[in-house]
Amino acid sequence: MRLTPRRILLIGVISLAGAIPAALCAQRQRPVVVASKPFGESYLLAEMFSQVLESRGFSVERKPGLGATEIAFGALRTDAIDVYPEYTGTGLIAILHDTLPDSLAADPRAVFAHVASRFADLYHVRWLPPLGFQNTYAIAVTRSTANRYHLRTLSDLARESPHLTAGFTADFIGRSDGLVGLSRVYGLRPRAVRPLAPAVKYQALAAGAVDVIDGYSTDGLLARYDLVTLVDDKHFFPPYEAAGLVSGRLDSQIPGATAALTLLSGRLDETTMRQLNRRVEVDGEDIKKVASDELIALGLVGSVSGHGVRGVQSVQHSGFWRYLWDRRATLAALTVRHLELVALALLTAVIVAVPLGLGLERTRRIAEPTIGALGVLQTIPSIALLAFMIPVLGVGVVPALVALWLYALYPIARGTYTGVRDADPDAVAAAEALGTTPTQRLLWVRLPLAAPVIMAGIRTAAVITVGAATLAAFIGAGGLGEPIVAGLALADTRMILSGALPAAALALAVDGVLAIVELLVAPAHRRKRLWRRRTEDTEAISTSPQVASTTRQ
């Protein structure tokens, strides 16, 4: 085979793609997998867990910002993660769907005991002793609203609720320990309920767009905006004691890890937590720094810790580019991971969908239903598809890859099928009549002529995949979604952009690389000549009688 520049480039692309799976499969010693849910306090507690473990010599893999309760708990049950911070009230209502007699429901110890024993029985999951503070729902209004309507308790709120607009998180609106229960117990009937992202609800309240919001009692922002938290006078909300939730296998697999995590139990009170949250959410301090400061203050970690925390400074007041520059190593690693996810998902999708499209062209009766079924997959929201993956595949890279792969199948299969089906029918018919075999027709005629349409499908799939891969962060697969998810949770625009901008650049870059591949695989007569141009060709066209006759008319 002659090595033309085109062949060399193709070989390069193929061997690069082949190297990626090898890199992903590299063996490592098993670390403790520490996860969090996507909001500030959860990030912070998970970081404190991680640093305590690291100070005791354990290696840690961080999976911050896992989707929501279903995803984080699903990951724990399937042993995809080892520990994450959870709240007893959430365990009671959102996971167990239990109700306790009123005498017990208000007692934090009773709730903890109930939840701990039920979780051990049902899920083989262990609640560590509580960290020492509660973080219950805080239904909050501005001070002026409280004064105008004389609001002190949730009963007062229910009385005035027909005049008020609520801005609740989607999670809270749907939960039985949220709006549903509040309506039942207090008769809360707001004039309107607006679903708001956690990141914007405080701003919406301060701006007067809504009158009442749901927060967490330890939110740093409650104090910043001088809000009034209404008293739960009917004891509707169960206690939400924070504690580490640990997988059943951690103790046997990594002895001592559970004991290390328990060092934090009983050490954090509500005042401390509110201050720490404020540093993260309001002052924009680095989570690692806030966590290590507190651990040092508690005497749990020596003041000289060896994992680079001291190098990270608050960058609140420096410019955005400076912010990106300071995080270049992390962002580069996230970009590489993102690219690995996209490349592997896309490559496997091409390997499956192109032959599938070719096969369907031979069995056209089932072609449309099959491709239609792949199309239905496209309509499943990415986050839902990722959540479906957890019971089967756990969390991390594998379920993310499967979800991305599923998304990439449709455009590629559709492009291949359509392209091959509609490839120049005269040429295909003539090739058949002159004695080519079906395989020869496929390789010599149909595939080369279909290449532009197939490539269009692959490029569409690639751009979709780069975008969808940002959501992979919700199930702990890493990538550029990690700063996006964390930034959304912390209402930190710079953090969001530090993931979103590289992701956008990556989409353009991937599309650009594929545009070059498209140029290389285009049918010869449509290929733009990069190296030389023949003058003879243009002559042939201008002197052709057909062209002449059309100009005559």
């Binding site: 040429a427 018919a429 003539a430 009549a433 002159l434 004695g435 042939a540 009688p545």
Partner: protein, 249 residues
Amino acid sequence: MPISLAARNVSHRFGNVVALEDASIDVPAGRATALVGESGSGKTTLLRCFNRLVEPEHGQVMVGDQDVRTQSPVLLRRGIGYVQQHGGLLPHWRVLRNVGLVPTLQHMSDSAQAARRALELVGLPAAQFGSRFPHELSGGQRQRVALARSIAARPGVILLDEPFGALDAISRAELQESFDNLRHDLTVTTLLVTHDLAEAGRLAEEVVVMRKGRIEQRGSMRDLIRAPATDYVARLIERARAGLEALRA
């Protein structure tokens, strides 16, 4: 070496539509026969029986002294030249590679040489046209290339399905002339499908008039004019003649 063609009592339907009804023809080796009729007359279906693009339900189709059903379709087709109305050149292959297709399929050692010779025969010097893509040629040139492709491996038979049908009148006349010369030089058996009676008379020794899957009449052009077997044949001749007279007037 030219090969004879024969169809014996061939019938075929597509679903409920009768395409061929008890059709029989004979083309002696080295001779040319034209199948003439309107669209839907079955002429193309009959032509396609000879290279097994259509497998008739009844009757026998012979190429040389062999029933086509005893041969693999792929090998059979490699031995038969074929030109269709819209040449069917592979658009992403240069002219020389297009023409060399069948020689390559037959693993001829000098397929490029065979392609060059075929191009010369249709009046397109390989040096000038060989490295062009089909879209860089005129319609008439493309049909010439298709013709060259059909003869490059020197088949004993060529099947032509309205090969000049999509061309303007001048290109058409030029191509008819070069084909006529070519056929005599190569001594190849020819089966031509056309809706144009004048073209049939000019290029073929025998004309077969078809209508609704049946053969109305077979014979030389002279026979047809002298003694049309049916009203349909008479009308067809009348119409062709009227066309010519309109030109003279």
